[in-house]
Assembly symmetry: C3
Homo-oligomer: 266 residues x 3
Amino acid sequence: MNKPLVTLTSDFGIQTQGCGIMKAVVLEINPNANVVHLMHGLPDFDISTAARTMETVSTIQVGFHVCVVDPGVGTRRKGIAIKTKRGDYLIGPDNGVLIPATNILGGCEKVVELSNPKYMKHPVSPIFHGRDVFSPAAGHLSVGVPVEEFGEELKFEDLVRAPYEEAIVKKDQLEAKVIHINKFGSLHLNVLASAWDQFGVAKKVSLKFQNTEIEVPFVKTFGKVPKNNSLIMEDDYGRIEVAINMGSFAETYHVSAGDKCLIKKV
Amino acid sequence: MNKPLVTLTSDFGIQTQGCGIMKAVVLEINPNANVVHLMHGLPDFDISTAARTMETVSTIQVGFHVCVVDPGVGTRRKGIAIKTKRGDYLIGPDNGVLIPATNILGGCEKVVELSNPKYMKHPVSPIFHGRDVFSPAAGHLSVGVPVEEFGEELKFEDLVRAPYEEAIVKKDQLEAKVIHINKFGSLHLNVLASAWDQFGVAKKVSLKFQNTEIEVPFVKTFGKVPKNNSLIMEDDYGRIEVAINMGSFAETYHVSAGDKCLIKKV
Amino acid sequence: MNKPLVTLTSDFGIQTQGCGIMKAVVLEINPNANVVHLMHGLPDFDISTAARTMETVSTIQVGFHVCVVDPGVGTRRKGIAIKTKRGDYLIGPDNGVLIPATNILGGCEKVVELSNPKYMKHPVSPIFHGRDVFSPAAGHLSVGVPVEEFGEELKFEDLVRAPYEEAIVKKDQLEAKVIHINKFGSLHLNVLASAWDQFGVAKKVSLKFQNTEIEVPFVKTFGKVPKNNSLIMEDDYGRIEVAINMGSFAETYHVSAGDKCLIKKV
């Protein structure tokens, strides 16, 4: 028996019934789905952090991935389903939140608007499309309904753009940005591990922020530098992270999400 | 293969093992159940909020719904299972927490006391009936044990009453109460969407609280009124909600849970 | 169809994607597993509290239990799988966190190091063995891969010791320690219910802490003593608990985790 993976991600607190309700909606349509809460409690309406979270599905098996970080619900923003080249379906609002994951999953194979009422839960609440549009879409896709059934095909390039672009790789420098700062004060950059490999760092880089420039070693883990020292490394999910061993890089160097970071080999 | 839905709701924090233990107990009895955590972390012993949460199962499929908000555990309060007219089973303490959901699910078909030790997990802890009485009951009911097997039939009208009554619908006014205030300061009233339809509001109502009287428009979503304006609308789960777009109604107008609210057409 | 129970416990916040990712990893290997989040959000790196939590699996069915409280990840600490006499497998780091549960589950039948790359998820992150080593091991064990396949057999007595020992039962006294203080300020002691039965208390004991000595009644539940009175009882999971009805024992008597507690019959 086929037991497809469906994941749910949202900015609801995990202790609210919204998360459980969405899981029940998927299971009503496909009782054989393995439904996993990937992450809830994302910062309200924070599309950048949510997009970063959706990227992490690239480290697990192919699945049907729903994201409900949706400040535009109730307006005319579209609901969409993107089929990726890897074979996943990404389901959520057309606000850019699904674009980085699409790129990491090989790119867009096809994207449609979720407009067919046949695959919605009725009555459709104007403020809870997670329950009434996105979760039902994941359920129906996971039992094999062709994506074309859900609505009109859209052009990938017409979708709302990603909340962040990828870093620009030049021969001698990487023009990067901070896309997320985690609870420990470590920076996640818009630099994929693959871009980093292409850039080709051996042991050390200089990082230039607006008011600071420092040199940091490129290492495998925190423990490779002494306590309170800075470092750069690959994170657990395929991006590059800047941190201080047992400290907060963001606080120490006054760096915020969105800041530019120019990386040069030393 | 039948994969029945079992939901779990409690005032345990979701990060405590109690929630996971209850899920494991259900799965030991019925490995084919689809067990969903509907909501945990409810305010300790808050029967009114818990009852409101249990109502939300009316928006999902028929299932076996456990509620463990149980300040009376260890006293002589009964454990009960209510079969609803819709076909659901509601399982928990006889403290009123299951009554509003029963009414919304079509009313009570049958109710029994959970007293048969055959369907409990032993030794039965005097302080954790969620694990040892209610979750096992959900498991056994979900594999088809007839509800009569669990204990003596009770009369629905003899159960402990609901923590709130439904609003009184008159021709020219609705005598309502605030049953819950959410984290945004919006009020949920004891007014079902069906009662609201029967009352028949066109565009506007006046709301009279103890010290305040204001007029608010009846709209579909927050976004239909300007920022900081008040409104009344249907919430996501079949009740009527009073709110301020991007603000806190409860704080602005000093309204608390339990307060009366007299609604008149304007 | 066999649907084995796999439980996951960690010091990740439950709202982080790490928990969901681990569940997906297990389900990729064994789509028929019933995966339950036992407890997340444990205090960071707190091996004692985590060990106590792992003990609670003794109240549920036999399963494959993963624990990721792993301050040593990235160092040379081993990953291990312990087969218990009851039939469970306990999977996690060799830092003592699995030892108390092993003892409660009848003792160690066999223990191996998790070193076979065939049963890991690649590339193995140096900082997330929960995803890349422990969850895959649970998945493969749950589909029937023999534990010998995972690596070299170790001697149970060579493993890192438990974060706490069991209390010493003498004829007239119990030499105990506080292993955990819960959010209500109640003390959990290193005294198993079985040791307590062996000690044989009738109605009352004296408890001697460093600076305090008090007498408390041995009762079934909080409600058996008046408000603000102290008591000693069995907790929900097979250990002995010291508490104040509606109060905090730890605060009132200035007791901390790790403190000694000498118990005498009165």
